[in-house]
Symmetry: D2
Subunit: 341 residues, 4 copies
Amino acid sequence: MKVGIVNVTGYAGLELARLLQAHPEVELTQVTGRSAAGQRLSDIFPNLTGPDLPITAEFEEAVDVAFSALPHAASAAAVIKLLESGVKAIDISADFRLKDPAVYEQWYQVAHPAPELLHEAVYGLPEIYRDQIKQARLIANPGCYPTSAILALAPVADIIEPDIIVDSKSGVSGAGRTLSFTTHYSEVNESCQAYSIGGHRHLPEIVQEVASARERALGRDEAVSMLFVPHLVPMTRGILSDCYARLAVPLSAAQLRDRYREFYRDAPFVRIVDRPPQTKHTWGSNYCVICPCVDERTNRLIVLSCLDNLVKGAAGQAVQNMNLMMGFAETTGIEATPFYP
Amino acid sequence: MKVGIVNVTGYAGLELARLLQAHPEVELTQVTGRSAAGQRLSDIFPNLTGPDLPITAEFEEAVDVAFSALPHAASAAAVIKLLESGVKAIDISADFRLKDPAVYEQWYQVAHPAPELLHEAVYGLPEIYRDQIKQARLIANPGCYPTSAILALAPVADIIEPDIIVDSKSGVSGAGRTLSFTTHYSEVNESCQAYSIGGHRHLPEIVQEVASARERALGRDEAVSMLFVPHLVPMTRGILSDCYARLAVPLSAAQLRDRYREFYRDAPFVRIVDRPPQTKHTWGSNYCVICPCVDERTNRLIVLSCLDNLVKGAAGQAVQNMNLMMGFAETTGIEATPFYP
Amino acid sequence: MKVGIVNVTGYAGLELARLLQAHPEVELTQVTGRSAAGQRLSDIFPNLTGPDLPITAEFEEAVDVAFSALPHAASAAAVIKLLESGVKAIDISADFRLKDPAVYEQWYQVAHPAPELLHEAVYGLPEIYRDQIKQARLIANPGCYPTSAILALAPVADIIEPDIIVDSKSGVSGAGRTLSFTTHYSEVNESCQAYSIGGHRHLPEIVQEVASARERALGRDEAVSMLFVPHLVPMTRGILSDCYARLAVPLSAAQLRDRYREFYRDAPFVRIVDRPPQTKHTWGSNYCVICPCVDERTNRLIVLSCLDNLVKGAAGQAVQNMNLMMGFAETTGIEATPFYP
Amino acid sequence: MKVGIVNVTGYAGLELARLLQAHPEVELTQVTGRSAAGQRLSDIFPNLTGPDLPITAEFEEAVDVAFSALPHAASAAAVIKLLESGVKAIDISADFRLKDPAVYEQWYQVAHPAPELLHEAVYGLPEIYRDQIKQARLIANPGCYPTSAILALAPVADIIEPDIIVDSKSGVSGAGRTLSFTTHYSEVNESCQAYSIGGHRHLPEIVQEVASARERALGRDEAVSMLFVPHLVPMTRGILSDCYARLAVPLSAAQLRDRYREFYRDAPFVRIVDRPPQTKHTWGSNYCVICPCVDERTNRLIVLSCLDNLVKGAAGQAVQNMNLMMGFAETTGIEATPFYP
């Protein structure tokens, strides 16, 4: 089984390369780049230890599955070509995540490049859409913040009031490898800040999936009010999302945890814990660690959700999707234990 | 004017020593410690450049004002002695912050050591209680989280629904100089986590002061529901509090900012800004930087509030209180510009 | 094949548990602790995802190989017991690294607990002693600094003047899990310092092995003068050692690199590079990355050597030793690619 | 007294603005920028609290002293204009540091723009050239690494063998505000590396001044062999230089420290200590903390030298130079105590 990465030169591409080079069922045979075409993998990523592939402008041989780590819009264009040539595609960009092309256009300020594929594309959150993923030829790999928030909220989507606050804290690698002041070391180190308070592009994705989960459970479509505030924290990897909502039905702490454990009974990468997790409990792994709590004073639900934004929040989840699509065991190649300390 | 520090050996004590040694109107003449008695300031704090005072077990000469940086309960005992000997006292501990001794006992698990002083003690937030501070002989210096949250919420206490979430992010120095796993470098670095989700001791302090502000403005006493979730972020100094509430009256973003600017018109250390601030915009200074926002989608208020937990959140505010008590200009000795980067 | 860890509760023990739980040829069946006896692995290390073993005071069943992560002196006592019961032992402590018990006593301030085993013990640096390790029943696993310095210097031990400076920079996890001011977050963060300038315990270990390498190549025993200055750098993992010496024979940069590549031709975990490596190029992996350079202005050799102090500098190397002792492929279970970023 | 900053938009410019706005004897009235012209100081540096000056392309009014924080070559051009208009100039760039224009051209790859001024320019290290600085109209403000190394070596320049290794560790702000991969947060965090091992531009500056110090003491000009290896450490501010050399005369540790204390008897910003200092002992201050040691095993001198690269290593030293030039007390406006933690 041959796989390729379109635009390997960012952090998601790098993390895909790391995981795929070590994957026992596939062979990474092709990697493309734009400005880096002509170089080798080791020229830009000296940490990699697998075959030192040339970075090409386009795939030069056939692959069975391809991952696109291009920016939005450019990614859709690449995905269309892949599908046309019979290659299964896992899109790391946002292009196929939002089901409504109008919402896409509102948030990404560009007309959707392939609205006809939106119905077919499967939102690649295996814990929710495992069966559909197995049948898919196009996966929209979820965003990092949405993965943490949706996994935190899905088990209770139908028993909370649809008025939610998600306050997320992210490491800086989530902002990618592109240079900017907000990722310049001296500006970020020893500092913490909120950003995109006017509305972050991951908001509609979280709303869509929490509303879907609610609709599936309740049988009716309802608006979900959501406030999402992302923050930059001085660390490289890790997301912690605090999700706040009111329980519509009374539930003890134990009942709440049981509900989550039952919901994720068959999910190998979700761990339900009863003490506030550290993002570091997921570092370098594909795990999402969730701690659901009830605040008795205010009767509010607080769900804490941690993951590694480059693994479960990007490349690891993409490999998990590939495993399901290709009929491999779901955990193949992404079993790594979190690193601590 | 002679001043002394009771228990100089923690980070609040150290920061007080740094500020008082450079203060043009007072002379730091006495510092006490418990385990460190017999050593000199430079033995434990080589960064200090002022007179190298001996650390004694008790004050050995008279002072005009004293700061107590003892832990709670022990601090009250020290403060009683100071007041009895005619010394004005600024208590960095929590002992005199909560007006209701029953609430104190509930949160600190000890009977209040001096309930008779609670009425006299002034909550040392100059932006709210400047006039009372000028007359006081006993100041309860506010907690670091409460300073950030109360300054963020006071200007709108009467126009929000009394159902508030405060999601705070703090640097590790807020946990003090006492060794523990939660402050051990390798456990904290490259990680982020919530803690005390069952209820942090700063919660009743925030509730008390937001309810007071509301009562002063509305003329009636009402319960305030508040959820406070503190987080540890891998940096030494800095607090960012995100305060979430619903506006009870419609207000544009500009009106909101004007309201804050008017409220803090005479406050030299509060800055109202219109872009999300970084905690680093306050590093090493006594400023609190506040960014009030309205989320139009959900009609929620978001107030972002940053400060340096060791300065405005502890020692700097204590000096600000001393300045007011002693009739000095409010900003004397604490004018430092924030450091960046 | 059953393996056990004596004193799992430090960072080396934790890292061993992480690696051994995922190792395909062995089963981790026993872990001991001292103060933690009675708890489970997950109580102290929530990141681990393998079987949640009870932490016992002593091994309660037989194992084939055991790792001791006890402090020095205590470790030797445990190792003696293991060997007596027919268990092969890999000692992470310093107890069997120094061949001369007088040198041990000088540096560790205690008489050597088992001098009769020193001759048998093999210094567990596979790149140098692979054949002896395969036959050994007792391995002295090298220190983290020594691994970086010896691998940097061994290929040129016979062509440099025996007057060497090693200036090493280490992440904080090298100081272990024991609480102290030098590992307290706020003391270490945003700071860098030298320590143990009067003489660090890893110095005699480096001297012994560089002198041995020189003796093997030159056929004569000579004193090696060495200055070793370790530094603490604000990061969790990673060691960078800069080794300075004069070349006794002229060598071009290319000849130098060829010499290193030839020397480590069969070493799967040593990479020779021609640009200064980052410690991060080894993060989470068992690789040692070495960049040998010649400074033409001063005709000095500079060898830069990076590794992850908890993997190649401790637990990973211990597993590499186990693999050799047990006849597994040398890289089994420790093939992980370095993480970046 | 009016002062201006040419090219305020980098970190040295920012730090100058912070210090000069608070300086009691001067008024910062003009700041220029290139791409930022037309903006205000607060637009790019929201931490500043002084008058919100417009950033102009050129000075629009007369000043008495100007600081140039332009890159090399561009800075010399600006300095020439300043001098011609009768303004005293303190050049933060490297343009006037090297006395020999050929050496300048060799290292900066450009012909010196104003060789006729090299003789007049004074190397602005007050601890060495205080008297000349008082008379100067053009100051070449030293580099950050050179300040740490020269202050460490000057007191012993005549009693060491002229064969020196300087291994320096620097925070990332030393690389400036210009975006690059080597200052991109995720690339730098949790990593440490050497750079410019082929020769860093600060090397000839250190050599020149150590050779000068040696010549002044010995009365003869001799070549000094020096190896300088700079490293990037994951922190924002701080430099630690380890200087290694052999003592040509035997000296006890106490004699050595006395020699340093005597040498810096009148230097308000140099502190001689006897335990290895942390860079954090200088954070935010104009101090240089020096710990001279003798390694008895190898009879080598090790001098550890710490400073804040943006203060004593750049802007603070520039203000110290201005104070001397203008007849103010040397410490005016730069008395700040180091921040800890």
